[in-house]
Amino acid sequence: MSASGSIKVTIGDVSFDNPVFLASGPAGYGEEYADFVDLQRLGGIVTKTVTYEPKAGNPGTRLQETRGGLLNSVGLENVGAGVFFGEKLPGLLDNGIRPIVSLAAEDWDGYRRLLDAAAGAGEIDIVELNLSCPNVDRGGMAVGTDPRMISRYVGHAKDILSGTAVIAKLTPNVQDIGRLALAAEEAGADAITAINTIVGMDIDIHAKRPVFKRIRAGLSGPAIFPVALEAVWRIVNTVDIPVIGVGGIDSVDDALKFFMAGAAAVQVGTAIFYDSRLPEKIITELEKNGIPASINRGGA
């Protein structure tokens, strides 16, 4: 670790004061945490994934704690492109908060409309494509497990959003997440975010039915940290673009491990619910001792 001054990080051409972001979803639209978190101090906030049309999300139970983890089946509830680009995004920018805009679509058509809306909105210098949500029937993981689809989606974003950095967020629910990362890199992605939630489920033994209406849900939180760390290690060994580590960060040490695995930045998701100041604690540590150097020398 170098105790050097700057902990700035650059992704694509976009520079961030520090490499600690809030993950898409748990962070909402940022504003909700204004009383708990010093939002301006964060490197950035990945906003809740937005689709072109507003989405009501999934009915029924949406959250279930597991040992060391959290299952969610929110189903991409969001305000839609109109409200997002018209109100939420300007609100963040006006308050000096650094947004990374998370985008997803259910089909190619919705995707094109969404990108057009994003291009029209201006002011967006970096987006994260959520190619990996397990909680929706169409789009999300169905797209994100197929390297050809990843390539198509990333390529189109690069075409439409010229001058905007494009991050591809990947799912761990595959045999080799490295292959997905390679497809994204080859299609022009500026960075990779890994990982989204792992598919899991739970059963209510008293009601004798799955806890979630869609049966399956996405597992996040400390339980998945070792899996996320391995995914980041693997991707760093596969691509040359920066990798953003997310999954189960529960302590400052966890964040340091992602940097040692070669991540250029980290995102905090579930931990924001119970330890809302953790991102600030990580930033303080990085300011004090610098960003740990990668120990990942490739090839493994």
Binding site: G28, E31, E32, F36, D38, L63, E65, F273, Y274
Partner: protein, 310 residues
């Protein structure tokens, strides 16, 4: 937990926040149209606080009254507001646990805690002097005051907590109407309510197994109390198991001008960000999923789409 937590600078104007966070999908709908006072709160203050346990009383085999010294700067609260407690400093159980405010005085924050799992057990085992990380005050709506009219409170189990806060708050505010509490529990072991008798005009207690008080559920008890004119009122307030609140709404609410209920749901963020705690409402422009934490916890019970609510 360690060092004392302080509130951080507010970066949005609080007044804007609640309207903003609704977005287009979440136009407040009929609740605001009905213009009920106190229904939707603007300007509530939130923060993270390190609160010291000042007392821990056993009220029943499973229930504790936990007193926290009110931390410096802790915001004011209204009936229906809640806090979210991190019950330990390591991450098991993972999430904060939401608790209705049972009372908030100048010096104390009171919670009624029933042990149902690991989180509540850790909270119930708190010793005087322990510190816990509390997020509060949370909640986007509160119980509208009866404004001088007679109020009937139905509190099932620990649903009692916000009923007590309402009765105490309104008494302090000089509200003059009668207040009746119907408190129901499964068994006499779980029955509470003697400790709060002075907060209400009268307290009626029932158990499902008839082991103490009225033999039956709180809803039937209320029906019989209304039928034989023991009590009357125009405002109905409730908090408790979904089954109880649903029965109240479907069977008894027509006898009242209004029925407001404070709902519970599993929560992660407690501030409307994660969209994990939604309840289906029937609103003018159709069915909507609202966040219990930030669009509630208090809802007009007639709006809840009971058929879809577990």
């Amino acid at each position: 937990m360690g060092a004392c937590l302080q509130t951080v600078p507010v970066s949005f104007r609080a007044e804007d926040r609640y309207d903003q966070s609704l977005g287009r999908l979440f136009l407040p709908g009929s609740m605001i149209d009905r213009g009920v006072e106190g229904d939707r709160l603007a300007g509530i203050e939130k923060g993270l606080f390190s609160a010291e346990v000042a007392g821990n009383e056993k009220l029943s085999p499973a229930c504790r009254l936990i007193r926290f010294a009110r931390p410096e700067g802790f915001p004011d609260a209204k009936p229906g507001h809640f806090v979210s407690v991190r019950v330990n400093s390591f991450s098991v159980p993972l999430l904060r646990r939401p608790y209705s405010i049972m009372d908030l005085t100048e010096t104390e924050l009171l919670l009624l805690v029933k042990v149902v799992g690991p989180g509540s057990r850790l909270l119930a085992e708190a010793a005087v002097g322990d510190r816990m990380d509390i997020a509060g005050v949370l909640g986007g709506t509160v119980f509208p005051s009866p404004a001088g009219e007679d109020a009937v409170f139905v509190g099932g189990g620990t649903g009692l907590a916000p009923m007590i806060f309402a009765a105490r708050t309104w008494k302090r505010e000089g509200n003059t109407g009668n207040s009746y509490l119907i408190h129901g529990a499964a068994t006499s072991e779980e029955l509470l309510g003697t400790f709060c008798e002075s907060d209400f005009t009268k307290v009626f207690r029932s158990t499902m197994d008839g082991s103490e008080g009225y033999d039956g559920d709180a809803v039937s008890y209320l029906q019989s109390l209304l039928n034989d004119d023991t009590i009357s009122g125009s405002k109905l307030y409730s908090c408790g198991p979904a089954g109880m609140v649903k029965a109240l709404e479907l069977k008894v609410s027509t006898r009242f001008d209004s029925h407001y209920t404070s709902l519970e749901a599993v929560m992660a963020c407690g501030v409307g960000a994660c969209r994990g705690c939604t309840v289906p409402l029937r609103e003018e422009d159709g069915r909507k999923l609202r966040a219990v934490c930030s669009d509630g916890t208090v809802f007009d019970a007639s709006q809840i789409a009971w058929e879809d609510w577990e």
